[in-house]
Protein backbone atom coordinates (compact mmCIF):
# COMPACT_ATOMS: atom_id res chain seq x y z
CA UNK A 1 0.00 0.00 0.00
CA UNK A 2 2.87 2.37 0.86
CA UNK A 3 4.69 1.93 -2.48
CA UNK A 4 1.37 2.36 -4.30
CA UNK A 5 0.73 5.59 -2.38
CA UNK A 6 4.25 6.82 -3.21
CA UNK A 7 3.78 6.14 -6.92
CA UNK A 8 0.50 8.03 -6.87
CA UNK A 9 2.18 10.87 -4.95
CA UNK A 10 4.84 11.27 -7.66
CA UNK A 11 2.09 11.31 -10.30
CA UNK A 12 0.25 13.95 -8.24
CA UNK A 13 3.36 16.19 -8.08
CA UNK A 14 3.92 15.87 -11.85
CA UNK A 15 0.28 16.69 -12.61
CA UNK A 16 0.45 19.78 -10.40
CA UNK A 17 3.67 20.97 -12.06
CA UNK A 18 2.22 20.58 -15.58
CA UNK A 19 -1.11 22.16 -14.57
CA UNK A 20 0.62 25.18 -13.00
CA UNK A 21 2.73 25.66 -16.16
CA UNK A 22 -0.36 25.36 -18.39
CA UNK A 23 -2.31 27.91 -16.32
CA UNK A 24 0.61 30.35 -16.23
CA UNK A 25 1.20 30.09 -19.99
CA UNK A 26 -2.50 30.50 -20.81
CA UNK A 27 -2.85 33.57 -18.60
CA UNK A 28 0.42 35.00 -19.93
CA UNK A 29 -0.89 35.07 -23.51
CA UNK A 30 -3.84 37.18 -22.35
CA UNK A 31 -3.92 40.45 -24.31
CA UNK A 32 -3.73 43.67 -22.35
CA UNK A 33 -1.28 44.89 -19.77
CA UNK A 34 -2.57 44.81 -16.18
CA UNK A 35 -0.51 47.91 -15.31
CA UNK A 36 -1.91 49.83 -18.27
CA UNK A 37 -5.43 48.67 -17.39
CA UNK A 38 -5.07 49.80 -13.76
CA UNK A 39 -3.75 53.25 -14.66
CA UNK A 40 -6.24 53.90 -17.46
CA UNK A 41 -5.79 54.92 -21.07
CA UNK A 42 -4.40 58.39 -20.28
CA UNK A 43 -1.42 57.13 -18.23
CA UNK A 44 2.11 58.23 -19.10
CA UNK A 45 4.37 55.42 -20.43
CA UNK A 46 6.94 55.97 -17.65
CA UNK A 47 4.22 55.67 -14.99
CA UNK A 48 3.02 52.42 -16.56
CA UNK A 49 6.64 51.18 -16.72
CA UNK A 50 7.16 52.04 -13.03
CA UNK A 51 4.00 50.15 -12.03
CA UNK A 52 5.04 47.19 -14.21
CA UNK A 53 8.35 47.12 -12.37
CA UNK A 54 6.59 47.38 -9.01
CA UNK A 55 4.28 44.46 -9.87
CA UNK A 56 7.22 42.45 -11.19
CA UNK A 57 5.70 42.32 -14.70
CA UNK A 58 9.00 43.41 -16.29
CA UNK A 59 10.76 40.22 -15.18
CA UNK A 60 11.40 37.38 -17.70
CA UNK A 61 8.47 34.94 -17.97
CA UNK A 62 10.42 31.94 -16.67
CA UNK A 63 11.52 33.88 -13.61
CA UNK A 64 7.95 35.00 -12.97
CA UNK A 65 6.64 31.45 -13.32
CA UNK A 66 9.24 30.05 -10.92
CA UNK A 67 8.58 32.84 -8.46
CA UNK A 68 4.77 32.32 -8.65
CA UNK A 69 4.87 28.50 -8.51
CA UNK A 70 7.56 28.47 -5.80
CA UNK A 71 5.61 31.04 -3.82
CA UNK A 72 2.44 28.94 -4.02
CA UNK A 73 4.32 25.98 -2.57
CA UNK A 74 5.15 28.07 0.49
CA UNK A 75 1.65 29.56 0.69
CA UNK A 76 2.65 32.90 -0.88
CA UNK A 77 0.33 33.48 -3.87
CA UNK A 78 1.76 36.93 -4.64
CA UNK A 79 0.13 40.34 -4.27
CA UNK A 80 -3.14 41.36 -5.92
CA UNK A 81 -2.55 43.90 -8.68
CA UNK A 82 -5.78 45.69 -7.80
CA UNK A 83 -6.02 45.60 -4.02
CA UNK A 84 -2.26 45.42 -3.25
CA UNK A 85 -2.96 42.83 -0.57
CA UNK A 86 -1.63 39.24 -0.42
CA UNK A 87 -3.65 36.97 -2.72
CA UNK A 88 -3.33 34.14 -0.17
CA UNK A 89 -5.30 36.14 2.39
CA UNK A 90 -8.02 37.04 -0.12
CA UNK A 91 -8.30 33.40 -1.24
CA UNK A 92 -8.32 32.08 2.35
CA UNK A 93 -11.20 34.40 3.29
CA UNK A 94 -13.25 33.21 0.30
CA UNK A 95 -12.29 29.58 0.75
CA UNK A 96 -14.12 29.59 4.08
CA UNK A 97 -17.32 29.95 2.09
CA UNK A 98 -16.66 27.88 -1.06
CA UNK A 99 -15.04 24.83 0.51
CA UNK A 100 -17.66 24.26 3.25
CA UNK A 101 -20.33 24.78 0.57
CA UNK A 102 -18.82 22.09 -1.70
CA UNK A 103 -18.33 19.68 1.21
CA UNK A 104 -21.84 20.33 2.54
CA UNK A 105 -23.22 19.63 -0.95
CA UNK A 106 -21.11 16.47 -1.27
CA UNK A 107 -22.43 15.20 2.07
CA UNK A 108 -26.03 16.00 1.09
CA UNK A 109 -25.60 14.39 -2.31
CA UNK A 110 -24.28 11.18 -0.74
CA UNK A 111 -26.99 11.18 1.94
CA UNK A 112 -29.72 11.57 -0.68
CA UNK A 113 -28.21 9.14 -3.19
CA UNK A 114 -27.45 6.15 -0.98
CA UNK A 115 -30.97 5.41 0.28
CA UNK A 116 -32.40 6.12 -3.19
CA UNK A 117 -29.87 3.86 -4.95
CA UNK A 118 -30.20 1.08 -2.39
CA UNK A 119 -33.99 1.21 -2.49
CA UNK A 120 -34.12 1.20 -6.29
CA UNK A 121 -31.67 -1.72 -6.52
CA UNK A 122 -33.57 -3.73 -3.90
CA UNK A 123 -36.89 -3.08 -5.72
CA UNK A 124 -35.48 -3.55 -9.23
CA UNK A 125 -38.15 -3.49 -11.93
CA UNK A 126 -40.96 -2.64 -9.49
CA UNK A 127 -42.90 0.61 -9.15
CA UNK A 128 -40.50 2.00 -6.50
CA UNK A 129 -37.52 1.49 -8.78
CA UNK A 130 -39.28 3.10 -11.73
CA UNK A 131 -40.28 6.08 -9.57
CA UNK A 132 -36.74 6.59 -8.22
CA UNK A 133 -35.20 6.25 -11.68
CA UNK A 134 -37.75 8.70 -13.14
CA UNK A 135 -36.96 11.20 -10.39
CA UNK A 136 -33.21 10.85 -10.96
CA UNK A 137 -33.65 11.30 -14.72
CA UNK A 138 -35.39 14.58 -13.93
CA UNK A 139 -32.75 15.51 -11.33
CA UNK A 140 -29.96 15.14 -13.88
CA UNK A 141 -31.76 17.42 -16.32
CA UNK A 142 -32.32 20.29 -13.85
CA UNK A 143 -29.70 23.09 -14.03
CA UNK A 144 -28.57 23.67 -10.45
CA UNK A 145 -28.71 27.46 -10.67
CA UNK A 146 -32.35 27.29 -11.82
CA UNK A 147 -33.17 24.86 -9.03
CA UNK A 148 -31.51 27.36 -6.68
CA UNK A 149 -33.83 30.10 -7.94
CA UNK A 150 -36.85 27.84 -7.35
CA UNK A 151 -35.62 27.09 -3.82
CA UNK A 152 -35.30 30.82 -3.14
CA UNK A 153 -38.81 31.40 -4.52
CA UNK A 154 -40.31 28.70 -2.29
CA UNK A 155 -38.27 28.75 0.93
CA UNK A 156 -37.15 32.38 1.07
CA UNK A 157 -39.81 34.44 -0.67
CA UNK A 158 -42.96 32.40 -0.04
CA UNK A 159 -42.22 30.59 3.25
CA UNK A 160 -39.56 32.92 4.67
CA UNK A 161 -37.60 30.02 6.22
CA UNK A 162 -34.20 30.97 4.77
CA UNK A 163 -32.58 34.19 3.62
CA UNK A 164 -32.50 34.68 -0.15
CA UNK A 165 -28.76 35.32 -0.16
CA UNK A 166 -25.71 36.64 1.66
CA UNK A 167 -23.45 35.04 4.23
CA UNK A 168 -23.23 36.11 7.89
CA UNK A 169 -19.74 34.67 8.50
CA UNK A 170 -18.64 31.84 10.79
CA UNK A 171 -18.87 33.81 14.05
CA UNK A 172 -22.33 32.25 14.35
CA UNK A 173 -21.86 28.71 12.94
CA UNK A 174 -25.58 27.87 12.96
CA UNK A 175 -26.48 30.98 10.97
CA UNK A 176 -23.61 30.24 8.56
CA UNK A 177 -24.77 26.65 8.02
CA UNK A 178 -28.32 27.88 7.55
CA UNK A 179 -27.13 30.39 4.92
CA UNK A 180 -25.35 27.59 3.05
CA UNK A 181 -28.25 25.11 3.23
CA UNK A 182 -30.23 26.22 0.16
CA UNK A 183 -27.07 26.65 -1.98
CA UNK A 184 -25.84 23.21 -0.88
CA UNK A 185 -29.19 21.59 -1.73
CA UNK A 186 -29.19 23.25 -5.14
CA UNK A 187 -25.69 21.95 -5.81
CA UNK A 188 -26.38 18.50 -4.40
CA UNK A 189 -29.57 17.56 -6.27
CA UNK A 190 -28.19 16.83 -9.77
CA UNK A 191 -25.13 15.10 -8.31
CA UNK A 192 -27.32 12.99 -6.01
CA UNK A 193 -29.36 11.91 -9.04
CA UNK A 194 -26.23 10.77 -10.89
CA UNK A 195 -24.84 9.03 -7.81
CA UNK A 196 -28.09 7.19 -7.10
CA UNK A 197 -28.17 5.84 -10.66
CA UNK A 198 -24.55 4.68 -10.50
CA UNK A 199 -25.10 3.06 -7.10
CA UNK A 200 -28.22 1.26 -8.31
CA UNK A 201 -26.49 -0.02 -11.42
CA UNK A 202 -23.42 -1.11 -9.46
CA UNK A 203 -25.53 -2.88 -6.82
CA UNK A 204 -27.56 -4.68 -9.49
CA UNK A 205 -24.31 -5.97 -11.00
CA UNK A 206 -23.15 -7.18 -7.58
CA UNK A 207 -26.53 -8.81 -6.86
CA UNK A 208 -25.90 -11.23 -9.72
CA UNK A 209 -22.65 -12.48 -8.14
CA UNK A 210 -22.28 -15.95 -6.61
CA UNK A 211 -21.44 -14.69 -3.13
CA UNK A 212 -24.78 -12.89 -2.94
CA UNK A 213 -26.55 -16.08 -4.02
CA UNK A 214 -24.69 -17.91 -1.25
CA UNK A 215 -25.70 -15.28 1.27
CA UNK A 216 -29.34 -15.60 0.18
CA UNK A 217 -29.07 -19.40 0.39
CA UNK A 218 -27.92 -19.00 3.99
CA UNK A 219 -31.23 -17.33 4.73
CA UNK A 220 -30.47 -13.61 4.42
CA UNK A 221 -33.19 -11.46 2.91
CA UNK A 222 -32.47 -9.64 -0.36
CA UNK A 223 -31.94 -6.38 1.54
CA UNK A 224 -29.72 -7.98 4.22
CA UNK A 225 -27.53 -9.60 1.53
CA UNK A 226 -27.35 -6.28 -0.28
CA UNK A 227 -26.43 -4.33 2.84
CA UNK A 228 -23.93 -6.79 4.35
CA UNK A 229 -22.19 -8.07 1.21
CA UNK A 230 -23.24 -5.94 -1.73
CA UNK A 231 -22.53 -2.36 -0.71
CA UNK A 232 -18.75 -2.63 -0.18
CA UNK A 233 -18.34 -4.49 -3.47
CA UNK A 234 -20.43 -1.92 -5.30
CA UNK A 235 -18.46 0.99 -3.87
CA UNK A 236 -15.69 1.25 -6.49
CA UNK A 237 -17.67 2.92 -9.29
CA UNK A 238 -19.48 4.94 -6.65
CA UNK A 239 -16.18 6.25 -5.25
CA UNK A 240 -15.13 7.27 -8.77
CA UNK A 241 -18.27 9.34 -9.13
CA UNK A 242 -17.96 10.85 -5.63
CA UNK A 243 -14.38 11.87 -6.48
CA UNK A 244 -15.40 13.36 -9.82
CA UNK A 245 -18.35 15.10 -8.21
CA UNK A 246 -16.13 17.12 -5.93
CA UNK A 247 -14.69 18.96 -8.94
CA UNK A 248 -18.18 19.56 -10.31
CA UNK A 249 -19.32 20.80 -6.91
CA UNK A 250 -16.39 23.21 -6.52
CA UNK A 251 -16.90 24.55 -10.04
CA UNK A 252 -20.67 24.52 -9.58
CA UNK A 253 -20.22 26.48 -6.35
CA UNK A 254 -18.82 29.33 -8.46
CA UNK A 255 -22.19 29.60 -10.24
CA UNK A 256 -24.36 29.01 -7.18
CA UNK A 257 -22.47 31.75 -5.33
CA UNK A 258 -23.80 34.16 -7.95
CA UNK A 259 -27.40 33.10 -7.25
CA UNK A 260 -27.06 33.52 -3.49
CA UNK A 261 -24.58 36.43 -3.50
CA UNK A 262 -22.13 34.39 -1.43
CA UNK A 263 -18.67 35.93 -0.96
CA UNK A 264 -16.77 32.84 -2.14
CA UNK A 265 -14.12 32.04 -4.72
CA UNK A 266 -16.62 32.48 -7.56
CA UNK A 267 -17.28 36.11 -6.71
CA UNK A 268 -13.55 36.69 -6.26
CA UNK A 269 -12.62 35.24 -9.65
CA UNK A 270 -15.30 37.17 -11.55
CA UNK A 271 -14.22 40.42 -9.88
CA UNK A 272 -10.59 39.62 -10.70
CA UNK A 273 -11.42 38.96 -14.37
CA UNK A 274 -13.26 42.25 -14.72
CA UNK A 275 -10.33 44.09 -13.11
CA UNK A 276 -7.67 42.13 -15.07
CA UNK A 277 -6.17 41.08 -11.73
CA UNK A 278 -4.50 38.13 -13.47
CA UNK A 279 -2.46 36.95 -10.49
CA UNK A 280 -5.72 36.40 -8.58
CA UNK A 281 -7.28 34.61 -11.59
CA UNK A 282 -4.34 32.22 -12.01
CA UNK A 283 -4.08 31.59 -8.26
CA UNK A 284 -7.77 30.75 -7.85
CA UNK A 285 -7.79 28.54 -10.96
CA UNK A 286 -4.64 26.78 -9.73
CA UNK A 287 -6.26 26.23 -6.35
CA UNK A 288 -9.39 24.73 -7.95
CA UNK A 289 -7.29 22.45 -10.16
CA UNK A 290 -5.14 21.49 -7.16
CA UNK A 291 -8.30 20.51 -5.27
CA UNK A 292 -9.47 18.32 -8.16
CA UNK A 293 -6.08 16.61 -8.57
CA UNK A 294 -5.82 16.06 -4.81
CA UNK A 295 -9.29 14.55 -4.63
CA UNK A 296 -8.47 12.26 -7.57
CA UNK A 297 -5.35 11.16 -5.66
CA UNK A 298 -7.36 10.50 -2.49
CA UNK A 299 -9.99 8.63 -4.54
CA UNK A 300 -7.26 6.38 -5.95
CA UNK A 301 -6.02 5.67 -2.43
CA UNK A 302 -9.58 4.94 -1.35
CA UNK A 303 -9.92 2.44 -4.25
CA UNK A 304 -6.82 0.64 -3.06
CA UNK A 305 -8.25 0.53 0.45
CA UNK A 306 -11.64 -0.77 -0.68
CA UNK A 307 -10.18 -3.29 -3.16
CA UNK A 308 -6.63 -4.45 -2.30
CA UNK A 309 -6.34 -6.11 -5.75
CA UNK A 310 -6.04 -2.66 -7.33
CA UNK A 311 -2.77 -1.97 -5.50
CA UNK A 312 -1.13 -4.74 -7.48
CA UNK A 313 -2.85 -4.00 -10.78
CA UNK A 314 -1.73 -0.40 -11.04
Amino acid sequence: MLSYALRRLISLALSLAVASLAIFLVVEVAPGDPAGFMLGTGAQPDTVAALRAELGLDQPKLERYLSWAGGMLSGDFGTSYTYRTPVAGMVADRLWVSLPLALYALALSTLLAFPAGLYAAARRGRAGDVAVMGATQLGIAVPNFWFAMLLVLLFSINLGWFSAGGFPGWSDPLAAIKALTLPAFALALPQAAILARVLRSSLIDVLGEDFIRTARAKGLTRFQALWRHGVRNALIPVLTIVGLQFSFLLAGAIIIEQVFFLPGLGRLIFQAISQRDLIVVESVVMLLVFAVILVTFLTDLAYAWVDPRLRRRR
Binding site: A30, P143, W146, M149, L153, V198, F248, V259, V292
Partner: protein
Protein backbone atom coordinates in the same frame (compact mmCIF):
# COMPACT_ATOMS: atom_id res chain seq x y z
CA UNK B 1 -37.38 -1.57 -29.46
CA UNK B 2 -37.83 1.57 -31.54
CA UNK B 3 -40.60 2.62 -29.11
CA UNK B 4 -37.88 3.34 -26.54
CA UNK B 5 -36.58 6.06 -28.82
CA UNK B 6 -39.89 7.87 -29.19
CA UNK B 7 -40.18 10.05 -26.03
CA UNK B 8 -36.62 11.35 -26.24
CA UNK B 9 -36.69 11.79 -30.00
CA UNK B 10 -40.01 13.68 -29.91
CA UNK B 11 -38.90 16.03 -27.11
CA UNK B 12 -35.51 16.73 -28.74
CA UNK B 13 -37.06 17.14 -32.20
CA UNK B 14 -39.54 19.70 -30.81
CA UNK B 15 -36.73 21.97 -29.68
CA UNK B 16 -34.72 21.52 -32.87
CA UNK B 17 -37.86 22.30 -34.85
CA UNK B 18 -38.56 25.40 -32.73
CA UNK B 19 -34.99 26.59 -33.33
CA UNK B 20 -35.31 26.03 -37.09
CA UNK B 21 -38.74 27.70 -37.31
CA UNK B 22 -37.33 30.73 -35.46
CA UNK B 23 -35.22 31.51 -38.56
CA UNK B 24 -38.39 32.24 -40.54
CA UNK B 25 -41.02 33.05 -37.90
CA UNK B 26 -41.27 33.93 -34.22
CA UNK B 27 -44.40 34.97 -32.31
CA UNK B 28 -42.79 38.31 -31.43
CA UNK B 29 -39.74 40.52 -31.77
CA UNK B 30 -36.79 39.41 -29.63
CA UNK B 31 -34.80 42.64 -29.92
CA UNK B 32 -37.53 45.29 -29.68
CA UNK B 33 -38.54 46.81 -26.34
CA UNK B 34 -42.23 47.19 -25.44
CA UNK B 35 -42.31 48.41 -21.85
CA UNK B 36 -46.13 48.72 -21.91
CA UNK B 37 -46.33 44.91 -22.28
CA UNK B 38 -43.67 44.01 -19.69
CA UNK B 39 -44.00 41.03 -17.35
CA UNK B 40 -47.36 39.90 -18.70
CA UNK B 41 -48.46 36.42 -17.61
CA UNK B 42 -49.21 33.74 -20.22
CA UNK B 43 -52.18 34.76 -22.38
CA UNK B 44 -53.63 33.99 -25.85
CA UNK B 45 -51.59 36.94 -27.17
CA UNK B 46 -48.32 35.88 -25.51
CA UNK B 47 -48.52 32.12 -24.90
CA UNK B 48 -45.69 32.06 -22.36
CA UNK B 49 -45.95 35.71 -21.25
CA UNK B 50 -43.43 38.52 -21.64
CA UNK B 51 -40.17 39.49 -19.94
CA UNK B 52 -39.11 42.71 -18.18
CA UNK B 53 -38.67 44.47 -21.54
CA UNK B 54 -42.01 43.29 -22.92
CA UNK B 55 -40.43 40.71 -25.26
CA UNK B 56 -42.42 37.57 -26.05
CA UNK B 57 -40.95 34.71 -23.99
CA UNK B 58 -41.84 32.01 -26.53
CA UNK B 59 -39.99 33.95 -29.24
CA UNK B 60 -37.00 34.40 -26.89
CA UNK B 61 -36.99 30.67 -26.10
CA UNK B 62 -37.19 29.73 -29.80
CA UNK B 63 -34.25 31.96 -30.72
CA UNK B 64 -32.41 30.96 -27.52
CA UNK B 65 -32.73 27.31 -28.57
CA UNK B 66 -30.60 28.17 -31.63
CA UNK B 67 -27.80 29.43 -29.39
CA UNK B 68 -27.95 26.45 -27.02
CA UNK B 69 -28.10 23.85 -29.78
CA UNK B 70 -25.37 25.49 -31.87
CA UNK B 71 -22.97 25.85 -28.92
CA UNK B 72 -23.55 22.30 -27.63
CA UNK B 73 -23.44 20.73 -31.10
CA UNK B 74 -20.18 22.40 -32.15
CA UNK B 75 -18.65 21.59 -28.75
CA UNK B 76 -19.51 17.90 -29.26
CA UNK B 77 -18.00 18.16 -32.75
CA UNK B 78 -14.75 19.56 -31.30
CA UNK B 79 -14.67 16.81 -28.67
CA UNK B 80 -15.21 14.07 -31.26
CA UNK B 81 -12.89 15.54 -33.91
CA UNK B 82 -9.98 15.73 -31.47
CA UNK B 83 -10.84 13.01 -28.95
CA UNK B 84 -11.65 10.11 -31.26
CA UNK B 85 -8.37 10.19 -33.24
CA UNK B 86 -6.46 10.57 -29.95
CA UNK B 87 -8.28 7.57 -28.47
CA UNK B 88 -7.73 5.50 -31.63
CA UNK B 89 -4.02 6.40 -31.65
CA UNK B 90 -3.62 5.61 -27.94
CA UNK B 91 -5.26 2.20 -28.43
CA UNK B 92 -3.23 1.42 -31.56
CA UNK B 93 -0.01 2.38 -29.72
CA UNK B 94 -1.12 0.85 -26.40
CA UNK B 95 1.58 0.52 -23.80
CA UNK B 96 3.90 2.97 -25.59
CA UNK B 97 5.02 6.44 -24.57
CA UNK B 98 2.45 7.97 -26.96
CA UNK B 99 -0.40 6.13 -25.21
CA UNK B 100 0.91 7.28 -21.83
CA UNK B 101 1.28 10.91 -22.97
CA UNK B 102 -2.24 10.99 -24.48
CA UNK B 103 -3.87 9.45 -21.42
CA UNK B 104 -1.98 11.61 -18.91
CA UNK B 105 -2.83 14.66 -21.03
CA UNK B 106 -6.47 13.58 -20.79
CA UNK B 107 -6.21 13.27 -17.03
CA UNK B 108 -4.79 16.77 -16.89
CA UNK B 109 -7.62 18.27 -18.95
CA UNK B 110 -10.10 16.41 -16.72
CA UNK B 111 -8.61 18.26 -13.75
CA UNK B 112 -9.90 21.51 -15.25
CA UNK B 113 -13.69 21.60 -14.89
CA UNK B 114 -15.31 23.09 -18.02
CA UNK B 115 -16.31 26.19 -16.11
CA UNK B 116 -12.72 26.74 -15.00
CA UNK B 117 -11.55 26.39 -18.62
CA UNK B 118 -14.25 28.90 -19.61
CA UNK B 119 -13.08 31.31 -16.94
CA UNK B 120 -9.50 31.05 -18.17
CA UNK B 121 -10.57 31.57 -21.78
CA UNK B 122 -12.74 34.53 -20.78
CA UNK B 123 -9.83 36.04 -18.88
CA UNK B 124 -7.86 35.94 -22.13
CA UNK B 125 -10.33 36.51 -24.93
CA UNK B 126 -13.40 37.99 -23.26
CA UNK B 127 -16.88 36.44 -22.97
CA UNK B 128 -18.84 35.14 -25.98
CA UNK B 129 -20.57 32.16 -27.55
CA UNK B 130 -17.41 31.11 -29.43
CA UNK B 131 -15.39 31.02 -26.23
CA UNK B 132 -18.14 28.99 -24.56
CA UNK B 133 -17.97 26.52 -27.47
CA UNK B 134 -14.18 26.23 -27.10
CA UNK B 135 -14.41 25.74 -23.32
CA UNK B 136 -17.09 23.04 -23.52
CA UNK B 137 -15.38 21.47 -26.55
CA UNK B 138 -12.01 21.18 -24.78
CA UNK B 139 -13.71 19.44 -21.87
CA UNK B 140 -15.33 16.99 -24.31
CA UNK B 141 -12.00 15.90 -25.82
CA UNK B 142 -10.83 13.60 -22.97
CA UNK B 143 -14.34 12.13 -22.67
CA UNK B 144 -14.28 10.91 -26.27
CA UNK B 145 -10.59 9.98 -26.15
CA UNK B 146 -11.09 7.74 -23.11
CA UNK B 147 -14.26 6.15 -24.45
CA UNK B 148 -12.68 5.45 -27.84
CA UNK B 149 -9.48 4.06 -26.34
CA UNK B 150 -11.36 1.80 -23.93
CA UNK B 151 -13.61 0.35 -26.63
CA UNK B 152 -10.77 0.10 -29.17
CA UNK B 153 -8.47 -1.75 -26.75
CA UNK B 154 -10.96 -4.61 -26.51
CA UNK B 155 -11.36 -4.70 -30.30
CA UNK B 156 -7.60 -4.91 -30.89
CA UNK B 157 -7.66 -8.36 -29.23
CA UNK B 158 -10.37 -9.71 -31.55
CA UNK B 159 -9.76 -12.23 -34.33
CA UNK B 160 -10.97 -10.01 -37.17
CA UNK B 161 -8.34 -7.43 -36.26
CA UNK B 162 -5.69 -10.15 -36.23
CA UNK B 163 -6.90 -11.15 -39.70
CA UNK B 164 -6.53 -7.57 -40.90
CA UNK B 165 -2.99 -7.43 -39.50
CA UNK B 166 -2.11 -10.72 -41.21
CA UNK B 167 -3.47 -9.21 -44.42
CA UNK B 168 -0.78 -6.55 -44.07
CA UNK B 169 -2.85 -3.58 -42.95
CA UNK B 170 -1.08 -1.04 -40.74
CA UNK B 171 -2.40 0.35 -37.45
CA UNK B 172 -3.78 3.62 -38.94
CA UNK B 173 -5.70 1.72 -41.64
CA UNK B 174 -7.03 -0.87 -39.19
CA UNK B 175 -8.11 1.96 -36.85
CA UNK B 176 -9.96 3.75 -39.65
CA UNK B 177 -11.46 0.74 -41.45
CA UNK B 178 -12.19 -1.73 -38.64
CA UNK B 179 -11.98 -0.09 -35.20
CA UNK B 180 -13.81 3.17 -35.92
CA UNK B 181 -16.94 1.59 -37.48
CA UNK B 182 -17.18 -0.70 -34.46
CA UNK B 183 -17.07 2.13 -31.91
CA UNK B 184 -19.43 4.43 -33.82
CA UNK B 185 -22.52 3.29 -31.90
CA UNK B 186 -20.85 4.05 -28.59
CA UNK B 187 -19.77 7.44 -29.90
CA UNK B 188 -23.31 8.30 -31.02
CA UNK B 189 -24.70 7.45 -27.57
CA UNK B 190 -21.95 9.38 -25.78
CA UNK B 191 -22.39 12.24 -28.25
CA UNK B 192 -26.04 12.54 -27.20
CA UNK B 193 -25.05 12.63 -23.53
CA UNK B 194 -22.32 15.23 -24.13
CA UNK B 195 -24.81 17.24 -26.19
CA UNK B 196 -27.19 17.40 -23.23
CA UNK B 197 -24.31 18.30 -20.89
CA UNK B 198 -23.30 20.98 -23.39
CA UNK B 199 -26.81 22.50 -23.21
CA UNK B 200 -26.49 22.65 -19.39
CA UNK B 201 -22.95 24.06 -19.55
CA UNK B 202 -23.92 26.72 -22.11
CA UNK B 203 -26.84 27.78 -19.93
CA UNK B 204 -24.55 28.00 -16.87
CA UNK B 205 -21.92 30.03 -18.74
CA UNK B 206 -24.54 32.38 -20.17
CA UNK B 207 -26.07 32.74 -16.70
CA UNK B 208 -22.78 34.11 -15.31
CA UNK B 209 -22.22 36.26 -18.39
CA UNK B 210 -19.48 34.18 -20.02
CA UNK B 211 -21.62 32.79 -22.86
CA UNK B 212 -23.55 34.43 -25.70
CA UNK B 213 -23.66 38.20 -25.32
CA UNK B 214 -26.64 40.55 -25.86
CA UNK B 215 -28.59 41.02 -28.06
CA UNK B 216 -28.34 37.27 -28.91
CA UNK B 217 -30.96 35.57 -26.69
CA UNK B 218 -29.80 32.62 -24.62
CA UNK B 219 -31.65 30.53 -22.04
CA UNK B 220 -28.99 31.06 -19.38
CA UNK B 221 -29.03 34.83 -19.69
CA UNK B 222 -32.85 34.86 -19.68
CA UNK B 223 -32.61 33.17 -16.27
CA UNK B 224 -29.99 35.66 -15.05
CA UNK B 225 -32.25 38.54 -16.08
CA UNK B 226 -35.25 36.89 -14.43
CA UNK B 227 -33.51 36.28 -11.12
CA UNK B 228 -34.57 39.52 -9.45
CA UNK B 229 -38.10 39.18 -10.84
CA UNK B 230 -39.04 35.77 -9.42
CA UNK B 231 -41.16 37.29 -6.64
CA UNK B 232 -43.31 39.46 -8.93
CA UNK B 233 -43.27 37.42 -12.20
CA UNK B 234 -42.24 33.81 -11.53
CA UNK B 235 -43.13 32.74 -15.09
CA UNK B 236 -40.17 34.75 -16.44
CA UNK B 237 -37.81 32.43 -14.53
CA UNK B 238 -39.93 29.27 -14.91
CA UNK B 239 -40.15 29.20 -18.71
CA UNK B 240 -36.43 29.22 -19.63
CA UNK B 241 -35.69 26.75 -16.83
CA UNK B 242 -38.40 24.38 -18.03
CA UNK B 243 -37.07 24.68 -21.59
CA UNK B 244 -33.60 23.62 -20.40
CA UNK B 245 -34.99 20.73 -18.32
CA UNK B 246 -37.19 19.41 -21.16
CA UNK B 247 -34.44 19.69 -23.77
CA UNK B 248 -31.86 17.95 -21.54
CA UNK B 249 -34.41 15.33 -20.46
CA UNK B 250 -35.29 14.69 -24.11
CA UNK B 251 -31.63 14.26 -25.07
CA UNK B 252 -30.94 11.96 -22.12
CA UNK B 253 -33.97 9.80 -22.98
CA UNK B 254 -32.85 9.80 -26.60
CA UNK B 255 -29.38 8.67 -25.48
CA UNK B 256 -30.90 5.84 -23.42
CA UNK B 257 -33.12 4.84 -26.33
CA UNK B 258 -30.24 4.91 -28.80
CA UNK B 259 -28.17 2.77 -26.45
CA UNK B 260 -30.95 0.20 -26.31
CA UNK B 261 -31.39 0.18 -30.07
CA UNK B 262 -27.72 0.32 -31.06
CA UNK B 263 -26.33 -2.01 -28.41
CA UNK B 264 -28.92 -4.18 -26.67
CA UNK B 265 -26.17 -5.75 -24.52
CA UNK B 266 -25.81 -2.46 -22.70
CA UNK B 267 -29.49 -2.22 -21.81
CA UNK B 268 -29.10 -3.85 -18.43
CA UNK B 269 -26.03 -1.81 -17.59
CA UNK B 270 -27.91 1.45 -17.87
CA UNK B 271 -27.14 3.92 -15.13
Amino acid sequence: MIRRLVPGAVLSALFVLAALVSYVWTPGDVTGVDIASKLQPPSPEHWLGTDHLGRDLLAMLMVGARTSIAVALVAVGIGMAAGVPLGLAAAAMRGTLLDEVIMRGNDLVFAFPSLVIAILITAIAGPGAVNAIVAIGIFNIPVFARLTRGAALALWERDFIMAARVAGKGAPRISAEHILPNVTNLLIVQGTIQFSLGILAEAALSYVGLGAQPPVPSWGRMLAEAQTLTAIAPHVALMPGLAIVLMVLGLNLLGDGLRDVLDPRLRDLRT
